[in-house]
């Protein structure tokens, strides 16, 4: 064995596990932000590997908009009970009830933007000093400059112009009182890497990712699921389609794609030939050209 033999997935996995362990070692109260989406599932899986045979030494944290697909919540609860993980839930509904945020109105009303307040409140309440997020640099141009260890000021905000340089594999997690970090172990993964890894490792994911029949309607080119949380307008016709979701977020803003992909291999094929980024179906990014960067500065995931 004279040659370095790692595949790209091995390399990414080794790096992700390394980051997980750095977080556990450098911080006092980390959490793993868990949405039930594929990225957070992969992150959870890397944490299982990082601390085996021990338990994951930090809780999961889910910011629940109250507008999740029921399948997501069921998946989350099943996973938590199977692996005896600790789960912290931050509720957007509670933030609304307590007057911390105001519910949006109108047909495009979404709780997506409100999550930021709930997230920051929940992190503060639990004195979290490092929140592991599933963000990837390939997702969106503002994320391309994100560090693995991303420093947040005492208001939880990101200053893209004042980031710490990050060299080699040395991660500087030092901070002053009240400040915190967001840590992104999947920084170097692409959507394709995530799918390939899920396939290789045979990781369970919510069935929303696979093609299924569902009642949907089309809004400005995006297929939205018919749920109690979306204000469908009269002219928006409800149709039954075979669809799947490329990302799983709030039901109000996560669009479905028309797809026949029923297996992992089908999905990988589909992703390989996709002509749209996965966030192309996210309503929230379409609000303005720098929508993502604006939200990140405020403390979004």
């Amino acid at each position: 064995m004279s040659h370095y033999q790692h595949s790209h997935l091995d390399e990414l996995e080794n790096e992700g596990i390394y980051v997980m362990r750095e977080v556990a070692a450098q911080f006092e109260r980390p959490v793993l932000l868990f949405s039930g989406g594929k990225d957070s599932i992969v992150m959870f899986y890397l944490a299982l590997k990082a601390f085996h045979p021990g338990r994951i030494p930090f809780p999961l944290m889910h910011v629940d908009t109250g507008h999740n697909f029921p399948e997501t919540i069921a998946f989350r609860d099943q996973l938590v009970s199977k692996y005896k993980a600790e789960l912290i839930i931050g509720s957007v509904q509670e933030s609304i009830d307590s007057g911390r945020v105001k519910e949006e109105t109108g047909p495009d009303a979404s709780r997506n933007a409100l999550q930021t307040v709930t997230l920051l409140d929940t992190l503060k309440k639990h004195q979290v000093d490092a929140a592991l997020g599933g963000g990837r640099r390939d997702e969106e141009k503002a994320r391309a400059k994100e560090r693995f260890f991303s420093h947040r000021d005492s208001f939880g905000q990101w200053d893209p112009k004042n980031q710490r340089p990050e060299l080699w594999n040395i991660f500087n997690g030092r901070k002053n009182m009240g400040e915190s970090f967001r840590v992104f172990p999947l920084s170097n993964w692409t959507e394709m890497d995530v799918w390939q890894y899920i396939a290789r490792e045979d990781i369970d994911i919510p069935n929303l990712y696979f093609a299924h029949e569902r009642k949907v309607f089309n809004r400005r080119g995006v297929w939205l699921a018919d749920t109690d949380f979306v204000n469908r307008m009269d002219e928006e016709e409800l149709v039954s389609k075979v669809v799947r979701f490329r990302t799983i977020g709030d039901a109000t803003c996560t669009g479905a794609v028309l797809s026949e992909a029923k297996s992992m291999d089908d999905i990988i094929q589909e992703v390989a030939s996709a002509r749209q980024t996965e966030r192309g179906n996210r309503h929230d990014d379409k609000r303005s050209e720098t929508a993502m960067e604006d939200r990140k500065r405020q403390g979004y995931f």
Binding site: Y4, Y18, P165, I170, T190
Partner: protein
């Protein structure tokens, strides 16, 4: 989840590997366009991304779609049309996944280039064919070499502007080769391209039939990925200890270099305990061996005490353990590096206190010349000597990138302010450990700068060296009187002050003289930190001892004065009767008489007391230093 056996997905992606490369170029070299081109022609750009940049190109009134917009992410960049930070981009071909660290090329951003280069397997240096090799290209080449990126590609861009002329390409190639002679460059590949038109980026150019080599993308796909890893020397910095119950104790980390298998004998640093590896545990199954790059958990045959910051190695192949490090340091902060200031140093899984003792020189990254400097400012690279509060387990960066690199952190702001590349353990200038074990530096309660401000003058150390009877103390005393009269805070140290108390246990053997001077050096340092002008009058016959003292201070604050006089004068003066005793054979070992006195090679002042009277010399020194 993952509890079943892995599915048999014999898909091609299982065989893919990964290449990390960095691109560096000036604002106008067309770097962003090149990356845009790579992404576009390799079909890694999605429709919605393309639509977004088409829209932006149109709204800023550009005719063609500006591929550079794909990489220039942040708002400010789009406004100023420049790239301001390292941005990471991803694309893949069926053979390989690529990570691009896109770094800006402006003068002020050496820091970003170093950051991008730190993880790269390959560097693309962009040269504008119409402009030739600019300062910046040289800088990129130097930094790539300093960070030991295994493969260099010089992409001669904008060939369309020079009518695809072979001579233009060859001239740049020749020029680069000449420059590279000064560098320790590995493999260099030259490729003529036009990022704007697409020549030789992904598809072979029809405009340059004279070029027989690979296209850029083909080269990126074919080049061997060896990561510059070291497959020989086993090093596992311990990151985390897993202890779910009494019966399991696992030591986790990412193998920095070398290989390991169960049954191998290992040694733990710093305790030097030896044991054998029992198992290499992963969640999937125990491994029969593991190698560099693997994140693993080891269990040991014996119950050994190992914690984060320790390093697991082989008994017969250990890194250097040292508190004194000779390193290149790239400074990354607006606040310049301060000599003698306490910083934190993060190396593998350890964080320790450190001080920079000496800046040997600053590297002029454009001319590759070495320049004297009292400080390192943002984006400057210097060779320094560092002392740490605790021994580190180091290897030269050349041999091991992971155990050979570190970052410097400002303890006040917690910001990463420097990146270090270890050359080797520093020559032991000091005979004993300068820091006792378990002593952590605390910054001075009242910093020297505040004391200096109140005193109204800077602190200094004036070191008078010369054989006995040369007139050191006479001059030092007169000078101190003069300084005192001018309301300066002073103290004069000479043999009489220290030999009776602090160094009362020492004789005059070479070792004891060395120790005597070492103690005096640190005593002077304390007075110096207290804001004093410290005058030290000591024979100090050995150059290495004087240099060790000198290394404790910044160059500007340490003044070496060589006091000279002929042997005849000294025998005649003989203030302590030493020469008389030596003559009579009562004693031996007088430096400058029967033993050598090592003259300073470049003292700040040479004071000859044969030719000048003390008052003149005092005046000369006073004006020279304080005038």
């Amino acid at each position: 989840m993952g509890d079943k056996n892995r599915t048999n997905t014999a898909s091609d992606y299982e065989k893919m590997d990964m290449l990390r490369f960095t691109t560096a170029g000036s604002v106008d070299d067309g770097k962003s366009t090149l990356i845009g081109r790579l992404l576009y022609d390799s079909k890694s750009i999605f429709e919605d991304q393309m639509e977004a940049i088409e829209k932006t190109s149109r709204s800023s009134g550009e005719e063609e779609v500006n591929l550079a917009l794909l990489t220039d992410g942040l708002k400010a960049e789009r406004e100023q049309k420049i790239t301001i930070d390292v941005a990471y981009r991803y694309f893949a071909t069926p053979r390989r996944k690529f990570i691009i660290a896109d770094t800006p090329g402006h003068t002020q951003y050496t820091r970003n280039m170093v950051t991008g280069a730190s993880t790269a397997d390959l560097a693309i240096i962009l040269v504008d064919a119409s402009k030739g090799l600019l300062t910046q290209s040289r800088r990129h080449a130097f930094i790539s070499t300093l960070l030991r990126i295994p493969h260099l590609v010089v992409a001669v861009n904008k060939m369309d502007l020079v009518e695809y002329d072979e001579q233009a390409f060859n001239a740049i190639k020749e020029e680069f080769r000449n420059f590279a002679k000064k560098l320790d460059v590995g493999e260099v590949t030259f490729i003529p391209i036009s990022a704007l038109k697409g020549d030789n980026v992904v598809d072979k150019s029809e405009n340059m039939s004279w070029y027989q080599g690979s296209t850029l993308l083909y080269h990126l796909e074919q080049v061997e990925v060896d990561r510059g890893y070291n497959a020989i020397d086993f090093r596992l910095p311990v990151q985390y200890v897993i202890r779910p119950h009494q019966d399991f104790r696992g030591f986790s980390g990412r193998i920095a270099s070398g290989r390991i298998k169960p049954g191998d004998e290992v040694m733990v640093l710093p305790s030097k305990t030896t044991t054998k590896v029992k198992d290499i545990v992963t969640r999937d199954h125990n491994l029969s061996q593991a190698q560099y790059g693997d994140s693993v958990t080891l269990t040991m045959e014996d119950e050994v005490d190992i914690s984060r910051g320790d390093m697991i190695v082989r008994r017969n192949n250990v890194p250097t353990q040292s508190q004194h490090i000779d390193a290149y340091l790239c400074w990354m902060n607006e606040e310049a590096l301060e000599l003698g200031k306490n910083y934190l140093l993060q190396h593998t899984s350890q964080v320790v206190s450190m001080q920079v003792e000496t800046i040997h020189y600053r590297m002029n990254v454009d001319t590759l010349s070495q320049e004297d400097t009292p400080r390192l400012a943002l984006n400057e690279i210097g060779r320094v000597q560092i002392t740490t509060s605790k021994a580190l387990f180091i290897d030269p960066y050349k041999i091991n990138k992971i155990t050979g690199s570190f970052i410097v952190i400002d303890p006040a702001s917690n910001v990463t302010v420097g990146a270090g590349i270890i050359r080797k353990q520093a020559e032991a200038q000091l005979t004993k450990q300068t820091v006792s074990p378990n002593v952590v530096w605390e910054p001075w309660n009242i910093p020297r700068e505040q004391r200096e401000a109140r005193n109204g003058h800077p602190a200094k150390v004036l070191w008078f060296t010369g054989p006995s009877g040369s007139g050191k103390t006479t001059i030092a005393q007169a000078l101190e009187q003069k300084l005192w009269a001018a309301s300066k805070q002073t103290i004069l140290l000479d043999g009489d002050q220290v030999r009776h108390g602090l160094c009362g246990d020492l004789g005059f053997s070479p070792e004891e003289r060395t120790e005597n001077i070492r103690r005096v050096g640190h005593l002077a340092k304390l007075f110096y930190e207290h804001g004093n002008i410290v005058l030290c009058s000591f024979v100090s016959p050995y150059a290495k001892d004087r240099d060790a003292v000198k290394a404790l201070f910044s160059e500007a604050d340490f003044v070496e004065l060589y006091v000279q006089s002929s042997i005849e004068t000294r025998l005649q003066r003989d203030p302590k009767g030493l020469y008389a005793k030596a003559k009579s054979g009562e004693i031996t070992g007088i430096h400058g008489y029967d033993l050598a006195f090592e003259e300073p090679s470049s003292p700040d002042f040479v004071l000859n007391t044969d030719e000048n009277n003390p008052q003149e010399l005092v005046q000369k020194v006073f004006e020279g230093i304080f005038g």
